[in-house]
């Protein structure tokens, strides 16, 4: 047996691939579900926090800034472990996929808030004044004048950040979430063969490569003309 066929036999073993394909596909579904939940809840919470921050209530804003800074400074894996091992001690038992969702959604919310807030700040004061002078209330100005302009500006950085954080679903394997990497790792140790890991890697590429390429397109499409 030549080197090449031995390589194929080890890393792309047909029998192992066929046996563990269902498990990997199950992992793909879990990854997509968690990723979708993280993206929707994270971005909505981030937007909500940025809107609340625009009302400039000091006590509230201090809280928001501390929250954002904390979730930007701490590594997601540290947060996952902290929540996973910490919560049961205060009587809250969350399933591990919920822990992963909660942590990644909060991390994304923190980054998204910063991006939305920077977008709101970038709208010149004259816009606020002009809108208010036509009789719009503060809330109406924010919703109908400022946010539509600000959001367009936030799309490229938000896209990149969202992709980077969504990839973090792989961290779930550390707390036994049955996402792609978790399924691939346990299949690898059961079969003592690296083929499941190669399948997992391929699954991540199939899922995320189109998203990264689409993100590149979004970046040029919505780039701010200087």
């Amino acid at each position: 047996m030549g080197g090449w066929s031995r390589f194929l036999e080890t890393f792309f073993n047909r029998e192992v691939i066929e046996r563990y394909l269902p498990a990997i596909l199950k992992g793909v579904v879990v990854t997509i579900e968690i990723a979708a939940a993280v993206v929707v809840t994270g971005i909505l919470l981030g937007l909500l926090l940025a809107v609340v921050r625009a009302f400039r209530v000091l006590a509230v804003n201090v809280f928001i800034v501390v929250f954002v800074d904390m979730f930007r400074a701490l590594p997601p894996l540290v947060l996952v472990l902290l929540v996973y091992f910490g919560l049961p001690n205060i009587g809250i038992n969350l399933p591990s996929f919920a822990v992963l969702w909660l942590v990644l959604a909060l991390v994304l919310a923190a980054f998204a808030e910063e991006i939305f807030w920077a977008g709101i700040l970038s709208i010149p004061n004259g816009q606020w004044e002009a809108a208010r002078s036509t009789g719009l209330s503060f809330g109406q100005t924010l919703m109908s004048v400022v946010l539509p302009q600000a959001l367009r500006l936030t799309i490229p950085p938000l896209t990149n950040r969202t992709i980077a954080i969504t990839k973090g679903t792989a961290l779930g394997t550390v707390v036994a979430v049955t996402e792609i990497l978790g399924q691939a790792s346990s299949a690898m140790s059961n079969s003592y063969n690296p083929s499941p890991l190669m399948m997992g890697a391929a699954a991540y590429l199939v899922l995320f490569f189109p998203v990264v390429v689409a993100g590149r397109w979004v970046e040029t499409r919505f780039a701010w003309k200087r």
Partner: protein
């Protein structure tokens, strides 16, 4: 309240686990000092190659960068750590972390530096070349300093992410801060060491986060 303190900020456990956690902190600093320059070098190579405005060079480079941007770093790390031994190559956790970071963060740094180089007007290179500077000299003395300045917030933000990512080393038994904290946690059956590690990460990185949020707000507001 008392019970909460005993669980999450247990003074006895903090004292007992401190030597273990401190060793981890030191290793995290060393690891960061290794992987940040590694990623920067990888990124610089990619960006310099991409500045050759030839589609035959640029497109494969873009594919390379997107490949590693699409690949979760933890998957890359486990592939190197657990997959390569099947090909008869056992590298150890530390080397695997170094290679994975060179590839992954190199792609991110490369993308940022490429954008920086693109942001420098072409007239600058022509002017520099016309004064007799070689291609390389023009790049090193004229283009790169301006490019780096233009993308400094992005470079800093990526560096923050890289330092945070060193915590992945704990998965392949590199004795950095998180790994040491988890060791201490499993010895004491108490989450206090992980809380301590989180506080250390926060104290270390919080100034960077503050600085970044100022730079970012200023960059957007300045348009």
């Amino acid at each position: 309240m008392e019970a909460l303190i005993q669980t999450f900020f247990n003074p006895g456990i903090i004292a007992a686990s401190w030597p273990i956690v401190r060793a981890g902190l030191w290793n995290t600093v060393l690891l960061s000092l290794l992987v940040v320059p590694l990623g920067l070098i990888g990124g610089l190579i990619l960006a310099l190659l991409a500045s050759v405005r030839n589609p035959a060079v640029r497109w494969p480079l873009m594919a390379w960068v997107d490949f590693f941007r699409a690949f979760p770093p933890l998957v890359l790390l486990i592939l190197l750590f657990a997959g390569l031994p099947f090909a008869g190559l056992e590298l150890g956790g530390f080397v695997c972390v170094a290679i994975a970071f060179f590839l992954n963060t190199g792609a991110y740094y490369g993308e940022i530096l490429r954008a920086g180089i693109d942001s420098v007007p072409g007239g600058q290179i022509e002017a520099a070349r016309s004064t007799g500077l070689s291609r390389l000299q023009a790049m090193a003395y004229v283009v790169l300093p301006q490019a780096v300045r233009n993308v400094l917030p992005d470079l800093l933000s990526n560096t923050l992410e890289v330092v945070k990512l060193t915590s992945l080393g704990s998965v392949v038994a590199v004795p950095e801060l998180l790994y040491q904290a988890r060791q201490a946690q499993s010895l004491t059956y108490n989450p206090t060491p992980i809380v301590v590690a989180a506080i250390i990460y926060f104290l270390m990185l919080w100034p960077v986060v503050r600085l970044l949020s100022r730079l970012e707000n200023r960059a957007l507001a300045g348009r």
